[in-house]
């Protein structure tokens, strides 16, 4: 007994070492599926607050530049709206057409504006922290967009902050299609440059041009149809030669991301519930074929 206590006392730091290492490794590997680990990410209150303060400070200094860009964008959009509404009026001869249509699409979504408080683009798995959490109505798997296009999906939800998986993450997997042609594939990122992502699994018979717009397909049950993703930049063959792999110039500049919007769409939620229910019932079928009566 004496020997044992002596042994323990002598090597206590090695036990501590093993304990600390095991704790770290557990944290590392459970991060992906363990909701409680929100405390160890930047979605927790302290780190979120610190990042918010620093981001407020930097945004103050870049404000004038942002303002200028927004004003320019506004002018361009206003011109576009004027042009399009005159064209629409010529076609339909109905001055109320536009406002009715807009009201219909807006009623479907609720947009939650949020600010990016922490962001990275240089890692293998980038994550973005935003300053809205469950108190503001944020839920897991909500779509996140910004003025220029797609950003990502909500991953962790804290009380006041959330962590978003942007397109620039190996785990991001968003269903997209080529605008006007309806071929779809999955948007993935291969690391490296922050403005290029790849659309995989596009069928070989698909016809499209370099420069075609790529938008969300609405199949992923996270984004509605038609959120801009980017433009076709280059086409490769997939490794197995069965499909195309399209390099896409992303329209979102993740390096300067500041203001984003979360899409709260009740119909999308319903769609997901149906899909999940269908998947669950399929699972039961494969596990226990006799239960089908």
């Amino acid at each position: 007994m004496h020997n044992l206590t002596e042994f323990l006392a002598r090597y206590k730091h090695w036990f501590l070492f093993v304990f600390l290492e095991v704790t770290s490794v557990v944290l590392l590997f459970r991060f992906n599926d363990y909701q409680g680990s929100v405390w160890f990410t930047s979605a927790n209150f302290v780190t979120g607050k610190v990042y918010e303060l620093s981001s407020n400070l930097t945004s103050f200094f870049t404000m004038s530049k942002n303002n200028e860009q927004l004003t320019q964008r506004n002018i361009i959009l206003e011109q576009e709206v004027k042009e399009l509404s005159t064209k629409l009026y010529e076609k339909t001869r109905d001055p109320q057409f536009l406002s009715r249509g807009q009201y219909r699409t807006l009623a479907k979504f609720r947009l939650i504006p949020a600010k990016v408080v922490a962001n990275s683009i240089n890692r293998e798995d980038n994550l973005i922290t935003i300053n809205k959490g469950s108190w503001d109505g944020v839920r897991k798997d909500m779509g996140v967009v910004c003025g220029n296009g797609i950003v990502g999906t909500v991953y962790f939800v804290g009380i006041h902050y959330s962590v978003v998986i942007p397109v620039l993450n190996s785990k991001s997997n968003i269903s997209c299609s080529i605008s006007g042609r309806n071929y779809f594939g999955y948007l993935r990122w291969a690391g490296g440059r922050s403005d290029i992502a790849y659309l995989d699994d596009v069928p070989r018979h698909a016809r499209f041009k370099i420069g075609d717009r790529v938008i969300t397909s609405g199949y992923s049950s996270i984004f509605p149809v038609g959120v801009l993703v980017g433009k076709v930049k280059h086409v490769y063959n997939s490794k197995d030669g069965l499909s195309f792999r399209i390099a896409i110039q992303l329209s979102t500049d993740f390096g300067t991301l500041r203001d984003v919007c979360l899409i709260d769409d009740s119909s999308i939620l319903e769609q997901r519930h149906v899909i999940e229910a269908a998947r669950d019932s399929m699972k039961n079928l494969t596990q226990d074929p006799t239960s089908e009566e």
């Binding site: 730091h13 501590l16 600390l20 290492e21 590392l28 160890f40 930047s42 922490a118 922290t129 785990k171």
Partner: protein, 167 residues
């Protein structure tokens, strides 16, 4: 709560703030990021209680992980070098060395000190990048990032050490 603890606490806070707000945003040539916080581990004096050194390393690692969204990665690799630190310093000690010698350019000699920080920094950074890049591992990118970051970190530590010894 003695002065040694408070001093180390302040020093650790400065290193963490510096790392989170400044150094993490540096990517020289798109690959090299200085990880200056290893400096904290390098400065543990000879015969400093090992359990205490490891707890410091773990706490700093966990704080940085919370900011970087890399749970466990920094904590694991920093605790590792805290455990190895006494062994790394042993070969450079002579019989006349003080019992509570603090590793530095003056106490170890410039060349010995460089070897000492090279060994520990390399171990830390290569473990760090191995754990971080788990998802899509690319050998060349891994070696480039880890090598360049190690070089930059060592350079930065030497510059700070030089400045400290002047004062």
């Amino acid at each position: 709560m003695n002065t040694d603890f408070l001093k180390r606490f302040l020093w650790a806070s400065i290193l963490i703030i510096l790392q989170v707000f400044l150094l993490n945003h540096i990517h020289m040539f798109g690959i090299a990021t200085p990880l200056l916080y290893v400096y904290f581990i390098l400065l543990f004096p000879r015969n400093y209680p090992q359990w205490s050194a490891m707890l410091w390393a773990f706490a700093i690692g966990l704080t940085l992980d919370a900011f970087n969204n890399t749970p466990g990665v920094t904590a694991a690799s920093l605790t590792l070098i805290a455990a190895l630190q006494p062994f790394a310093i042993r070969p450079f000690l002579s019989r006349e060395s003080s019992e509570t010698l603090i590793p530095g350019m003056r106490t170890l000699g410039v060349f010995n000190f460089i070897v000492y920080i090279f060994v520990l920094t390399t171990i830390h950074i290569f473990t760090f990048f191995s754990l971080e890049m788990f998802s899509f591992f690319n050998l060349i990118e891994w070696a480039e990032c880890a090598g360049a970051s190690t070089a930059l970190t060592i350079l930065l530590i030497l510059v700070i050490e030089q400045m400290r010894s002047r004062i």
